[in-house]
């Protein structure tokens, strides 16, 4: 297949394709979806009280962006998610590394962690509302409980998979136990930790929006709920798109941080 044509390569598993074709394919699919949406709505085939036209969504976006609603709710959601996620990560990452690295830590906390991990955080929301209300603290608690136990398990798996030869060879180079932890175990887990944070951040978004949909007085989920009550589907779409874009940007930020801080993970 040395002289395969572009056409051949498109249909051969794992073959690289030209950059132009790659970008083009993405545009074609996105364009088709947009065209389908436009066709269904502008033609009047689907009533705009169910599915607004792209134009209406755009107009809603401009209106909500200029009158400050969008920024207010986005700022509140971002504050909730970053605080909750930060608090969870700060505890879960070191604890996860110790759980993966030390059998005794695993023995102590693994049973509780596994129990909590299978408890859907959404089922705790009513209790949390009862205990701490519907403000910022409750959202942080939901995000914390939703991500913490997942992070701990994922990070401990990363730490557990560090190859034993790395420890052995370090001992023979004169490392003591503290050096084994700080200079071998911790750096060896860093790429996996960052991947874990990236993945769990996506889940944190879900928990946040659910919490805001259940009970809140501000935030993007609340904004969507208000739009539903006001029978304003265009505003619902604005909320959904904003959440999607924020999630995407966070994901890109994580990738960028990994590449910038760990050049060795992508050096070839």
């Amino acid at each position: 297949m040395a002289n395969a044509t572009v056409f051949d390569r498109l249909f051969t598993p794992k073959k690289p394709i030209p950059r132009g074709v790659e970008v083009g394919a993405a545009i074609v699919v996105a364009g088709t979806l947009l065209a389908g949406w436009s066709g269904l709505t502008y033609s009047g085939y689907i009533s705009s009280s169910f599915l607004p036209t792209p134009g209406e969504v755009w107009k809603s976006f401009v209106r909500m962006a200029s009158n400050g609603t969008l920024i207010k709710h986005t700022a509140i959601s971002l504050q909730e998610i970053y605080l909750g996620f930060f608090l969870s990560s700060v505890v879960a990452v070191p604890l996860g590394i110790f759980m993966g690295g030390f059998r005794i830590v695993a023995a102590m906390i693994e049973p509780i962690v596994n129990f909590m991990r299978y408890l859907p955080v959404t089922s705790l929301i009513p209790l949390l509302i009862l205990w701490i209300g519907i403000g910022l603290e409750e959202k942080i608690a939901v995000i914390f409980l939703g991500t913490f136990f997942q992070q701990i398990v994922l990070v401990s798996d990363v730490a557990r998979q560090v190859h034993e030869d790395l420890f052995n060879v370090s001992y023979t180079l004169g490392a003591n136990r503290r050096q084994i932890v700080m200079r071998v175990l911790v750096p060896a887990t860093m790429p996996g930790v960052l991947d874990t944070l990236r993945v769990t951040m996506g889940w944190a978004w879900t928990f946040l929006v659910v919490a805001e949909l259940v009970a809140a007085n501000a935030g993007l989920g609340y904004m969507i709920l208000q739009a539903m009550r006001g029978l304003d589907p265009a505003a619902i779409f604005v909320g959904i798109f904003v959440i999607g874009v924020l999630g995407l940007l966070t994901d890109l930020a994580f990738k960028w941080i990994k590449n910038a801080s760990m050049p060795w993970t992508h050096a070839r």
Partner: protein, 260 residues
């Protein structure tokens, strides 16, 4: 000084399936300072475990290991280790990998830089000083592992099939490189392999090990002149020694196969 003494050493461990397994049984050998000793044996014969015992990474069940008269109780930088693979720190460059052991002991930066530099040059990787392990071939990675072990100036170098994962051309280049360095550095080497050619080409002495329980079943003094050249593997004497080792291993390999 790096005389290694292995004195009536046994190693047993418990498994769920087979009960108590005797990996090594009352095994003794004395490796004089600066000798290149090779242990050859079938896989699973416990030859890697023997290295771990000398390194202090495993505890003997019976017997005693010592280096230069000091009993082995835990790992230390007087016994450097070169494992088969996966042993470089992927987050450190070649230079920093070689500096790693020196930085553990708190050697000043300039001094450890110079020292690591010297060994990076010695293994011929000066052009890859700032490369990460993921950018290196298998042979180059093992060169770094050797340089890293030598940089802390151990008395004994423990090598656990260090070239086992390399293709045969790279392997013979690495063997020559290792002999070259060994002649300059004058270290005691305990080298484990299952490759008979490799054992005879490198070693002053070759110990042939049996399958479980691991025992020494033959000892061959390799009286080939040094420095050795790869031509030597086709010499009559070399082939004669090789035949002897194959003979004693053959029965053992069969035994090992039926046991597992």
């Amino acid at each position: 000084m790096g005389e290694v003494q292995i004195d009536n050493v046994s190693l047993r461990f418990n498994t769920r399936r087979a009960g108590t397994v005797i990996a090594l049984e009352t095994l003794s050998m004395t490796i004089p300072d600066k000798q290149f000793a090779v242990i050859v044996g079938p896989s699973g014969c416990g030859k890697s475990s023997l290295l771990d015992l000398v390194a202090g990474l495993k505890d003997v069940s019976d017997g005693h290991c010592s280096v230069d008269g000091r009993g082995v109780s835990k790992p230390g930088s007087d016994r450097g280790m070169v494992p088969q693979s996966y042993s470089l720190f992927p987050w450190l460059t070649v230079q920093k990998n070689v500096e790693f052991g020196l930085s553990l002991s708190g050697m000043p930066k300039a001094q450890r830089f110079d020292r690591a530099n010297y060994y990076v040059d010695a293994v011929g990787l000066q052009a890859f000083r700032d490369a990460y392990p993921s950018q290196l071939s298998g042979g180059m990675k093992q060169r770094v592992a050797i340089a890293r072990a030598l940089a802390v100036n151990p008395e004994v170098l423990l090598m656990d099939e260090p070239f086992g994962a390399l293709d045969s051309q790279t392997r013979s280049v690495m063997q020559e490189l290792l002999l070259d360095i060994w002649e300059k550095e004058q270290k005691t080497v305990l080298f484990v392999t299952h490759d008979i050619d490799e054992a005879l080409f490198l070693g002053d002495v070759v110990y042939v090990m049996s399958a479980r329980p691991g025992r020494i079943i033959d000892t061959i003094d390799v009286d080939l002149d040094r420095p050795r050249d790869y031509e030597v593997v086709t010499s009559e004497h070399f082939i004669e020694m090789k035949r002897r080792i194959i003979g004693s291993l053959h029965a053992e390999v069969n035994k090992a196969m039926t046991m597992n």
